[in-house]
Point group: C2
């Protein structure tokens, strides 16, 4: 049974996982959907009530029935590198490839539907609350007056994107930024704005969850750090990430979140306050983990490899690719 | 409790349903996400473990907790008609709107995740087979040799898009076309191609499913009709659609399909052969129904209105917007 990895060619994070799969003797096919119709080909036949499908990449053939799991890492747009790319060809190739894969009973890290859903920040906040994770007071609004009222109740705020990275080419991360006192919120009317109570943090926590396994790391806020630099990605730092223990109640809440989100992988960001409370900021279903592994030595890549190599699902009588199969 | 309809301004099909909702005294808010930040506004606050959200459209305010159901009809891209539209604003507005709606326990027709999944043709064919619907032999391939082998086994073929409508502006339907004898399949290598055994049909069947309710219509193939014109949408016809009885086993199979697809609405196309067998061609989760209602007098719009006005779901302890809630 083969592990299928969908990602672009230059992906050192995927390389880290492939090393472990190779060492364990687990067959791997790695391909980029962007190469469809050039070096990647597919075929599926529905005849007499049966389905037979296969993929080929660089001359290597794998049957869809022979797939154990699919890791959707950083795939390119389908057929983007075809001889004559077009929006139509991308749509046709994407529907063909993912349509066939969705018809298998394969385990996904992560299922495409679960991934799309998990990106929605308002949905994340609500699920985090329900899962028992502390969430800082947050407002998402297009009403300037609602923003002003919120800023009166919570005078120390940050602003961040609702959606994540800016969709320019290449996509650009938008830093979380502290709202200056007396800010004018009139522009809120022109675009949904996410305001959140700033957590005076003593550390950033990055928690990586792979199936049931949870690995956390912390980076202490430097003494005398500029409180206006909120986003750890943009903070100058010589402090490395260190392994951190996860309080059992928090681990339970994280597992509840993943179960309800039907995610097999999630990278959680928390801010630890002076009382030691971990405040949920977000869960990125495709978050990077290489930098944590390098700093902490935590075996994240190996854990992912083990999950991907896990037992293939028993095909149920009606395993019709519901989301429910994503985190099973 | 209010029914929310997401659709563009000029949508006579939605109008047909609104008439019935109005007659039944069910509150309706109709808005186009394209109008976000111009005439549509939103706000959601996450404070002390509780969420309060509302939408406003043309000055009318509705609480997210007060929503009974959402009908995703033909919504425009979020904020597409804003004063200064951009891909970034569309992404932010879409995540904010759908993220908040996904956080409610509302009933969807259809749930966005179920809709995306249900468009995949290979997935449709596999689910139809498993649900007990007869599916004509079908090949989806980028291998010219696989196409040639298939054409040898099934000499009378049609070709159709894998993905549906061509994504030009406005999107254009691509007709299903008969493959001439001796066709050269070399071009299959340049794009996934869907080939299907042609059903020599004596009628087209359009079956509209709304929740558990199934309404079918048939249009007889005119005697002496050109067999090269396969696609009923493009066939010259003076024959109207007539109501048709649905064989009980087929109705069971359709309900099984919808249940597994987690769809509350689906428009199924079948081809009826000389033996009276209904061959599954596709299920369009957003298929039109106005033309069937006009021809047959079947109460499709009223049935949709009744479904939308149905009892609000009881919020479970952890109703976290899994797909599972879509067809409940």
């Amino acid at each position: 049974m083969t592990v299928l990895i969908l990602t672009c060619e230059e992906d050192v994070t995927a390389d880290m996982v492939v090393v472990h799969l190779n060492a364990a003797g687990v067959p791997v096919v790695r391909l980029d959907p962007a190469d469809l119709t050039s070096t990647v080909a597919l075929s599926g036949e529905f005849v007499h009530g049966a389905f037979r499908g296969h993929l080929s990449s660089a001359g290597r053939l794998v049957s869809l029935d022979g797939l154990r799991s699919v890791w959707v890492r950083r795939p390119g747009a389908a057929a983007a590198r075809a001889a004559q790319p077009s929006a139509w060809l991308t749509e046709e190739a994407s529907q063909a490839l993912y349509g066939m894969l969705r018809g298998t009973g394969v385990r996904w890290m992560n299922h495409p539907d679960a991934s799309v859903r998990a990106r929605h920040k308002p949905w994340q906040l609500r699920l985090a609350q329900r899962s028992g994770l502390p969430v800082p007071a947050t407002l998402i609004t297009t009403f300037p007056q609602a923003a002003r009222d919120f800023a009166e109740r919570y005078p120390d705020l940050v602003v961040k994107p609702v959606s994540g990275a800016h969709p320019q080419d290449p996509p650009r991360a938008v830093p979380t930024t502290r709202v200056p006192p007396g800010a004018d919120f009139a522009a809120v009317a022109y675009g949904p704005t996410l305001l959140q109570r700033r957590i005076a943090k003593r550390a950033d926590i990055r928690l990586t969850a792979v199936g049931e396994r949870i690995l956390a790391a912390r980076k202490d806020t430097a003494p005398g750090a500029d409180p206006d630099v909120v986003d750890v990605r943009y903070a100058p730092s010589t402090t490395p990430w260190r392994p951190a223990d996860v309080p059992p109640r928090l681990a339970d809440a994280v597992r509840a979140y993943l179960r309800d989100a039907e995610l097999a992988y999630g990278a959680f960001d928390f801010a630890e306050d002076a009382d030691g409370t971990w405040w949920f900021l977000e869960c990125n279903q495709s978050g990077q983990f290489g930098f944590v592994e390098v700093d902490t030595g935590q075996p994240i890549a190996r854990t992912i490899a083990e999950w991907l190599a896990g037992p293939a699902p028993r095909p149920g009588p009606r395993s019709a690719d519901r989301c429910g199969s994503a985190a099973s």
